[in-house]
Symmetry: C2
Subunit: 145 residues, 2 copies
DNA sequence: TGATAATATTTAACATGTTAAGCATATATG
DNA sequence: CATATATGCTTAACATGTTAAATATTATCA
């Protein structure tokens, strides 16, 4: 218990998660570059498409971004007409962010390619393993510690 | 096939991997802050401890960092006496990076805490699931595409 | 050998990650 | 109602992520 030596990095969870993610992102990045958005901007647009208008705090939670990063990302997206940012009607601290038709068409336009890439990965990895992996990741992410 | 709609972000692999990683890092970050190193600096020192002196390209591969990031990180580590960087004996393009005793003691000093945190996560998640997850991640990372 | 391609690393530029602090508005409480 | 506290978001500062280009050195090969 509490060994003095660290376990091999090949079995270290943070690096393993990073390596796996890099593999996947390596397949997706060309599509994002073609669409002219970063990985993070894509996540924000996607969340807004999926769940509709919401405030920055909820976007940050759903897209796995920290608020300081999100502030900059939303500024960029708003300046480029992909989202709108309006004051909350009753709570003066909040904003409500909504995707624009331009933002929505960016997502729609690239959804087929995104799905094709995902299908290729799933085919190579195995649909069953993919499900198992997603289940394990979800369980780990919601672990009580 | 090639649906027009994107699958739910809750089953999107990149975000799922990120969420799981955030959960783990949330447990580890206090230790790193206490040790006075960033996550990436820690990875570099760890790789050098595990496999000995090597060139930046190998460090980048093993620690899952891009070379431009690694250049800055090595500069910092060298300035703070945690690694040394010397020219390769025969290949003038290369450098050889080695951890110093100061760097090694930083790792040694924090290894027990790191291992304890890992054990806690493993206990909560289940050792068998942890193994399954690591196997799946490894397989995904080495997928032929 | 001499031009050419490949390799190892760095630099540059811009976007994001991370932590702490700041600011405005809302809520709670005496 | 006044003040303290909490909440939502932004700003600041520094480290890293990402892509492209630059630099130096080595390998290739006509």
């Amino acid at each position: 218990m509490t060994e003095k030596k660290l376990r091999a990095t090949s079995r270290a969870l943070p690096i393993s998660l990073l390596r796996a993610r890099e593999k996947v992102m390596g397949q997706i990045r060309p599509m994002l570059a073609d669409a002219g958005v970063t990985e993070q901007q894509w996540r924000v647009l996607r969340v807004l498409t999926e769940d509709g208008a919401m405030d920055p705090t909820d976007i940050a939670d759903k897209s796995c971004l920290l608020l300081p990063s999100l502030t900059r990302i939303l500024k960029y997206l708003e300046e480029n007409g992909l989202v709108t940012r309006t004051k909350h009607e009753t709570d003066g601290r909040r904003f409500v962010v909504e995707i624009t038709s331009k933002g929505r068409s960016l997502i729609d336009h690239n959804a087929p390619t995104s799905n094709r890439i995902y299908s290729e990965i799933e085919a190579a990895f195995g649909a069953k393993k993919m499900d198992e992996l997603l289940d394990l990741l979800d369980e780990l992410a919601h672990l009580e510690l």
